[in-house]
Symmetry: C2
Subunit: 240 residues, 2 copies
DNA sequence: AAAGGCAGTTGATACAGATCAATTCGGCGG
DNA sequence: CCGCCGAATTGATCTGTATCAACTGCCTTT
């Protein structure tokens, strides 16, 4: 973990300015906000915080991808989400994180001391409303993911994952046919409630079907419509 | 759906006063709040709102149990949660519910028009903070449920469900050995990502093990410690 | 360029839980 | 009290995914 420029950075030219929590702040507030956060960088594989830890900070992801996960005592892991630039981490009840977070590849976050951040939010209901909005959006995504985990087949899971991941990257300015997958197969398996072998086989199957092409560090989405059809729970491609 | 006493009720003697959103309101605010909500009753099996519906109201559960679920186009169902007295429903993004809600047995809710409720919240940050707290608590529960759906065996799922359900009922003043199950086996199956037959077999198994006794409308928890052991992911009962 | 190592793929087999099919139980109307 | 009907249970069998095991390919180190 490396801290850079404790205060030498300005929110006004931050990359995630438009999408993150801070989108609800005006210029005067932003200037104050500058002094609250500090940029911190984590190397690939480093743990940013652990499930049992007492929450002392909020984190705003600026660059990179993180895996958010929970472990069972015997080592089984469920990844509850991947965090991308603009995502806010650290909201919790009872003062403890409810999942762990690792950097996948290098990650830069904007870290806020919980107390200072709390004071800042105190008399800014619009910021609180923005935080609430983010929490509810996440809750909604969590519900969608429950459907996937509880009721979808391996093929549907993988196709859905690829499409959703692509959509998130597109909304951050990514291309729509090349889909980078910075996480490894095990991460994908633990996200989808599958084993690494099943994920691998399903990728291969989708490739054989001409839906995707497996390339270094990701996939190329050859047939998005077909992928949608495989992801959806419709009985067949053309039934209505 | 039956509306009773549009305004003849008082928040100050509401059953869920202490646990619901309204716990953050003072007496003066409560008096104002009286005029915002109206009590509405739903019969067993009635749908309170559907996933596609535009959100026009918030609902505060006063009595009864609701199932919250999402459907796939081909009819597969995932129950994302059960709502009990004190729970707040209707928080959403983009103005649409993100799941459907049915009454299991008779249900009474306190219904608020979204616009009026929104105005009331507007200049009451403490209420907003309370709502945020509830949203984050639900998000945390959602994460726990993802672990269950993605990484736990049928036996662990059922044992975990029974313990968690009991805990919720206890916190509402229920007894701790008799656990009523107002939902049917299909509901439990759709909540746990299992089939009805697997749920039934697992209940029978737990009964054979002497962990529970299956009784009308619920179970009796004979051996809570053993149930905990089955729910947890430890390798064995006594492993170090 | 060879060697080592880890991530990913592929194959063979096992098994938990799904599916299909009766059967039993319990509440309710006549 | 009897017969009906939906919910729950139980049984037999099937199957999707896990598990166990080997192999491949790519990057890294020397």
């Amino acid at each position: 973990m490396v801290m850079i420029e404790p205060n030498g950075h300005f929110c006004s030219d931050c990359a995630v300015r438009a999408t993150a929590v801070c989108s609800s702040l005006d210029l005067a507030e932003l200037r104050e906000f500058d002094h609250l956060g500090r940029r911190v960088t984590f190397a690939a594989g480093e743990t940013v915080f652990s499930e049992e830890d007492i929450t002392t900070s909020f984190y705003n992801v600026l660059e990179g991808v993180m895996r958010l996960y929970k472990l069972l005592p015997d080592g089984r892991r469920q990844i509850v989400g991947f965090a991308l630039p603009g995502d806010l981490l650290g909201m919790n009840i009872a003062g403890r994180h409810n999942f762990s977070a690792d950097a996948i590849g290098a990650v830069t976050v904007c870290q806020f001391a919980k107390t200072a951040f709390g004071r800042f939010v105190e008399d800014r209901p619009h910021l609180l409303r923005r935080i609430n909005e983010l929490a509810i959006r996440e809750l909604s995504q969590a519900h969608d993911h429950m459907v996937l985990l509880g009721r979808r087949s391996a093929e549907e899971k993988v196709a859905t994952f690829l499409l959703n991941w692509r959509e998130r990257l597109v909304s951050l300015g990514g291309s729509s046919d090349m889909v980078p997958l910075p996480m490894n197969r095990q991460d994908i398996a633990d996200y989808l409630g599958l084993t690494i072998e099943t994920v691998s086989r399903t990728f291969t199957k989708l490739e054989r079907l001409g839906v995707i092409e497996i390339i270094q560090g990701g996939i190329s989405l050859l047939d998005p419509a077909r992928a949608e059809a495989l992801a959806a729970a419709s009985r067949s491609y053309f039934d209505f």
